[in-house]
């Protein structure tokens, strides 16, 4: 059986890649994808600990995370489309004012 620490290290690496994506990339869509990657890294470690503790509550929590992520993606992409309609760009550097 694979030690849980392997899963944690993989999850840490994936989370760090997600953080890097948010920090480096300027395409708002790719930034958003990086956020999804971070959510997935957190899910992975939750499931790994659920397996280690033999407690299924961790899996229930992952179920909730996936549900909320679906809602978040729908709203976030709608916001991006609305921003694109007014600013005609998906570059986060161009969207630096609160005025519409």
């Amino acid at each position: 059986m694979v030690p849980t620490s392997y899963y944690i290290m993989l999850s840490a690496a994936l989370f760090a890649i997600g953080v890097l994506g948010v920090l480096i990339r300027r395409n708002a869509l790719v930034v958003f994808m990086s956020v999804e990657l971070m959510l997935n890294a957190a899910n992975l470690v939750l499931v790994a600990f659920a397996r280690e503790r033999l407690s299924i509550d961790g899996q229930v929590l992952v179920f909730f995370v996936i549900t909320v992520a679906a809602a978040e993606v729908a709203v976030g992409l709608a916001l991006l489309v609305a921003i694109f309609r007014t600013k005609h760009t998906a570059d986060v550097d161009e969207v630096s004012t609160l005025r519409g």
Binding site: L29, S34, N40, A50, I56, D57, A74
Partner: protein, 178 residues
């Protein structure tokens, strides 16, 4: 055997994530992220959670990534980063911070032990979708209902956000009405 499977899947997940980060085209990024999600789904299977495996594939790899690809292609925003960065030191600083984050996480794991988890061999019923469903409708009934409301709010929010031109037209009409 498990360790070999884990190593292969972890490599695929890492390659997918890094390729997503460096791909210049947003469509390629989305497809590499899809590869990463599929690898994580396989890891869920390895961790004896078949229900989450199915959910990961249908909701994440299916619904969410299709939505992403659809919006990328709708906006035609595949290549918006051809101009140079506005903050010159942003990239090296981000790389340094990312490396520091990995180092902190790995050190905090290594402080723990390497032994096989205390759970030992799982019972045959562990990860059974029936067990998960029973828990959802007993201990987690309230959060389960709240997710329903969250999804409803998301649907209403998306509909309001993409109402084309209705708010601006009422604003324009207001002075003439007086």
């Amino acid at each position: 055997m498990d360790v070999i499977l884990f190593a292969i899947t972890a490599a695929v997940a890492l390659i997918g994530a890094i390729a997503m980060l460096v791909a210049r085209n947003a469509v390629h990024s989305a497809l590499f992220l899809l590869l990463n999600f599929a690898a994580i789904a396989v890891l869920f299977l390895l961790l004896q959670s078949p229900f989450l495996f199915a959910i990961q594939l249908t909701v994440y790899a299916g619904a969410i990534m299709v939505l992403f690809l659809f919006v990328v292609m709708l906006l035609g925003a595949e290549r918006v980063e051809d101009t140079p960065d506005r903050i010159a030191w942003q990239r090296p600083l981000a790389l340094g911070l990312g490396a520091a984050l990995v180092a902190v996480a790995v050190v905090s794991v290594l402080r723990g032990a390497w032994e096989v988890p205390p759970g030992g061999e799982a019972a045959a019923t562990f990860g059974d979708p029936a067990q998960l469903g029973a828990l959802l409708f007993t201990n987690y009934l309230l959060p389960f209902q709240v997710t329903g409301i969250i999804l409803l709010v998301a649907v209403v929010g998306v509909a309001v956000l993409n109402q084309r031109g209705r708010t601006t037209s009422t604003v324009k009409r207001a002075p003439s009405g007086d």
